[in-house]
Symmetry: C3
Subunit: 135 residues, 3 copies
């Protein structure tokens, strides 16, 4: 069975945000694999700790220091200093997450959740496309 | 066909370790996609070189320098200096690997294998969940 | 339905290159998930911006600065200064990309495409293995 659904997230500010509920509420009652794909190249998805907000704040701090906005070498800066850095963060973290599902529930650890990683300064409409392959 | 199986790895020390045999021994004789998912947020999985132990040592060296434990900006440090850094390394490398399978054998390059990336100082029980979709 | 196909890319120089057409021309007219897997550990795949060549140039600049070739700590340097660094870049970016497909067309954003990330100095034959699970 192939299940596919497009969802639009509410607006999120720059940073790392838990969107687990937005994803889980869409899943059919099957067992197999879930793929959540983000249809953008300046925001990304990752799976990480689902409880303490400071984890998501530290993620933002770390990635801002890893991919510096004042890098004079960057050529692709049409849309401002958060343009090229967003593309790079997006590939470091990834455009999709994939996890196992069993009878409609994620078969992951109790501390795991899905993050939207919004790398742009201005909140944007972000579309996810969910595919579940299962039986 | 959907095949799902949970496995528990033996204890591994901090660092990068080949766990290819632990994964391959569980695969059914089908053709399709294998997903190996780690049910934790302070250890991760990646696919890389399967022969020379110094590759895995250099991975540990590189990631320790990339994600410094004495970063005074980190807020999430309840469990020690290897706490937040482990979450970050986990998202840089990823919580799952996925590779093609043909008649029960991985269809990857001759130099490829699966690494467990253990980011915590103290060895912990790590559970993997394997899903194979194939026919 | 499981569809599997091996393809060999033309030679690409060190850097980031759009290979979207090479991938899309192989896809069957189904709906489901596409996995593109690279059978090497010194080149990688990612999904990012598909229009402006300076994005790919900035990627090369960024990753060369992130993973320095003159790192005296590296032990695995048999094949030159671009040996170990290629393995690390490969795991930071990933050995596969996965995206949704609907009626044979990628269900991604209008600005998304697939990059081959060639990390070695000398162009090499790179083999991809494409698996599509769909119906």
């Amino acid at each position: 069975m192939v299940f596919q659904k497009s969802i639009q997230l509410p607006l999120f500010s720059r940073g790392f945000h838990l969107i687990t509920d937005h994803v889980l509420s869409e899943l059919p009652k099957v067992s197999g694999i879930v793929q959540v794909f983000i249809q953008h190249t300046s925001a990304s998805l990752t799976i990480n700790e689902n409880a303490d907000p400071t984890v998501r704040m530290d993620f933002e701090t770390f990635f801002n220091n890893l991919v510096l906005e004042d890098n004079p070498s960057f050529l692709h800066t049409y849309e401002g200093p958060d343009d090229m850095t967003s593309h790079i963060k997006s590939s470091l973290l990834g455009s999709s997450v994939s996890f196992p599902i069993k009878n409609g529930a994620p078969n992951w650890g109790i501390w795991q959740g899905v993050y939207l990683c919004e790398h742009r300064n201005t909140p944007r409409r972000r579309n996810l496309f969910i595919t579940v392959i299962g039986e």
